[in-house]
Amino acid sequence: MDAMAVERSVTRLSHEILEKNGSPEKIVLIGIHKRGVPLAARIQAKIHEISGAELQQGSLDITFHRDDYRERLVIPQVKGSDVPFSLDEKVAVLVDDVLYTGRTIRAALDVLNSFGRASKVQLAVLVDRGHRELPVRADFVGKNIPTHEDEHVHVELRETDEDDRVFLIRIQD
Amino acid sequence: MKIEKLAKDLLLINGKIIDPHNRKTFDGDVWLKNGKIAGVGDVNTPKGAEKIDCSGKVITHGFCDLHVHFREPGREDKETLKTGSRAALAGGFTRVCVMPNTHPPLDTPESINFIREKAQECPIHIHPIGAVTKSQGGNDITEMGLMHREGAVAFSDDGIPIQDGAMMRIALEYSTLMNVPVINHAEDECLRAEGVMNEGIVSNHLGLPGNPDFAESTMVHRDLELAKFTGARLHVPHVSSAKSVQHIRGMKKINEKVTAEVTPHHLYFNDEALRSFDTNLKVAPPIRTEQDRKALLEAVKDGTIDCIATDHAPHTIEDKETTFDLASFGMIGLESCFGAVCKVLVVNEMAIALEELIRLLTVKPRNIMGFEADLFQVGIPAEIAILDPTKDWVFDSTHVQSRSVNSPYYGETLTGRVEMTISRGYIASN
């Protein structure tokens, strides 16, 4: 995907989120570090543009909730989660760049639970590359990119990298 | 001795002025106005000033004694601040430091304050020395910080040695906070045991239990090492033995924070004098051999010993008029001091210059305590002694101003007389 394709996906995701949920007041956006956060911010801006609604935004750091903690010691790269509002009666839309095994989302659900109980949790991703290892599915998908296991999907966003791009990388032996 | 208030304008004329701080000797006059120095040397004679003719006399700073016992509070029958002041004036002393072994001892800021307030009424400057340990018990240091704030100029348990080395160390360490001297009466209690005089040939002849010189020197050595390690200021009181002098001399080469004093009686007498069993010669530390006395004289001459301090220790007649073993330790010494030390140091034996002797009684003790030593500056409240350094006189009871009379000098011919002393707006005339 190039920058324009990313932009179109963001616009479409924003429309779909609004359409599925009726009134925007009860929607909150939760970006998953690290690229889910700027994506969530863009969706928030787009939704504001479309409907005038100002959605609340939070962020999650899933480091301490990874399920591979027995095998790997991961040092957190960011400053933690931030959900400075109540989740009661809210529809929490998790936002991430790539959906792959589903384990990140499982961890994200765990972290989200520490902050409260949302009435509904939905998932928006820029890219779904398949190969789920857990029963997780996205409600809103920017682009489906079927992959092999030896391939890697790499997302870059202008907020964190040089520009908006999505690469499919094949790993050679 | 007569004490009167100073005239508003007083002129001391035709004297030989010895300024021990600036090390100058010259002829001239000293003009005092309202008790303060108004001019020294060549002064414009103001009209109407009262004049005192000092022809043939020396005009110099009033003496400072770092080590006296004025027994107040508790034993006012022996001495009070007021009577001690009289004794001091008779001896040419205008400033003294009083030891804290009173009853109760000066071991709290409140008791330091008591002395300071009482001293206001006295004609000399009196500085309290605070106790090192509570009740002088040797176990628990006193509130030195607060006592220093109230006016304690040094700390000592004088009379009682700080036997416990760990306690001496703590005391020295803590004292560095106030940067004032710690003065330890150095006599190892175990070694001195029941000794009442110096252990030597004389004590063996007399059958009196002896107090050996190493009881003092071992503790002096200990204190010197602790002082070096802790960086504290140590002042060694009443040095009495050649061995102690040796330790001090050696340590002074590498530690300038050590100072030491000697009493007139340790310079004047040796233990032969005790053959008379005169209890007035029973002192702590004891008067020792002629060899020790000579070593002390040398030490004064070469600067190992910094100053002279009398250890003026008044006792009642009952305390002294008893058998040698039961008699209290100590003698009065303020009135006889100058005559005794002038005789041995200047005139007879050591040929020390009079100026040097005067420094030992004025500038050097003041420097140790940080008192102002440049006393001929214009505007300074007058502390003056007028001396006749060559006059021979026989010490007798009329010369004693202390409330107590325990002196061994009766009948001794001394050389050097204090004629007048000016201090705190008063003039005392002998």
Binding site: R70, S114 | N139, T142, E173, S175
Partner: protein, 312 residues
């Protein structure tokens, strides 16, 4: 990922590792701000709190840290009088080993005891205070608190005030702060400051007012009342007059200075209640950072290890 397997002390502890612990601790601080303060990172990990010396605060802090990490916690307390030194210590240690423990948090009255423990057991050893030697977790939470307040450690000027010679908090702080580039000045009664301590690169100044003028932050140590009767400190009022961080003293200086205290405080002795409760003091932050930094330490030392699984 930390270079040393154990945390016995901060002497020689690499600065990168101290920084990692502090950074991770800030992350755990955020966890402690959540409604549900729990992460699963140490699930299945068993930790024994081996306290041979009384402590409520440190033990509770460690226990909370362990529980928030989902670890299993076991407590062992004993007064050292009931234990013969040496012999039973080894026995106790090896009993623990036999029960397949992953980590031990130990507090002992004798310097070097945790080091000793590492010779008998395989588990990770964390020193919660060994006599008058080190208390590394306290120093780490102190540094974290300084970092939180100033945004950095390097170049700061920190005064440590009190009975230095008997303080493991002081010694660990000295090691840690010097490693992290902080300038340290010790202050207190001269007889309670070790005579050779300057060798570690610290300044010594007995004048507390001068130290207040100089420092960005002041770590005020508790003066133990037991010291009073032993001839070491003349009286409470003397200590307060000469070294107490009183309201009058701070008002006199009129400067912004951060006040820290490892607790428990003797209000009115080394520190006035009003000072401890003021905005200048970060004492309660220190307590919270204590749990966060202990979580970070446990996570970094015990995380990522598979617990021994029973053969199923």
């Amino acid at each position: 990922m930390l270079q040393q397997k154990h945390l016995l002390g901060l002497e020689g502890y690499p600065s990168e590792d101290i920084q990692s612990i502090i950074d991770t601790a800030f992350n755990f601080r955020e966890v402690l701000d959540r409604p549900i303060k729990k992460v699963p990172s140490l699930q299945g990990v068993t930790i024994v709190n081996l306290f041979f010396e009384n402590s409520t605060r440190t033990r509770i802090s460690f226990e909370l840290a362990q529980k928030r990490l989902s670890a299993d916690t076991v407590n062992f307390s004993s007064s050292s009088s009931s234990l013969k030194k040496g012999e039973s210590f080894k026995d106790t240690a090896q009993n623990i080993e036999a029960m397949k423990i992953d980590a031990t948090v130990m507090r002992h009255p004798t310097p070097g005891a945790p080091q000793h423990l590492t010779e008998f057991i395989d588990a990770v050893v964390i020193n919660a205070g060994d006599g008058t030697h080190e208390h590394p977790t306290q120093a780490i939470l102190d540094m974290m608190s300084l970092h939180e307040k100033f945004g950095k450690l390097k170049g700061l000027k920190v005064g440590i005030l009190g009975d230095i010679s008997h303080s493991r908090v002081a010694l660990s702080n000295i090691y840690g702060l010097i490693t992290m580039g902080v300038e340290v000045t010790l202050c207190g009664p001269p007889n309670l400051i070790p005579p050779f301590i300057r060798n570690l690169g610290v300044n010594v100044n007995y004048n507390v007012d001068e130290v207040i003028e100089w420092a960005d932050a002041l770590n005020v140590l508790r003066i133990q009342r037991e010291r009073m009767g032993l001839g070491l400190v003349p009286s409470i009022r003397e200590y307060r007059a000469m070294f107490g961080i009183t309201k009058e003293r701070l008002d006199h200086h009129k400067k912004e200075i951060v006040i820290m205290h490892p607790g428990p405080m003797n209000r009115g002795v080394e520190i006035d209640g009003s000072v401890a409760d003021s905005d200048q003091a970060i004492i309660l932050d220190q307590v919270l950072n204590g749990v966060a930094s202990r979580m970070a330490i446990l996570y970094l030392l015990c995380g990522g290890k598979s617990s021994e699984k029973e053969e199923s």
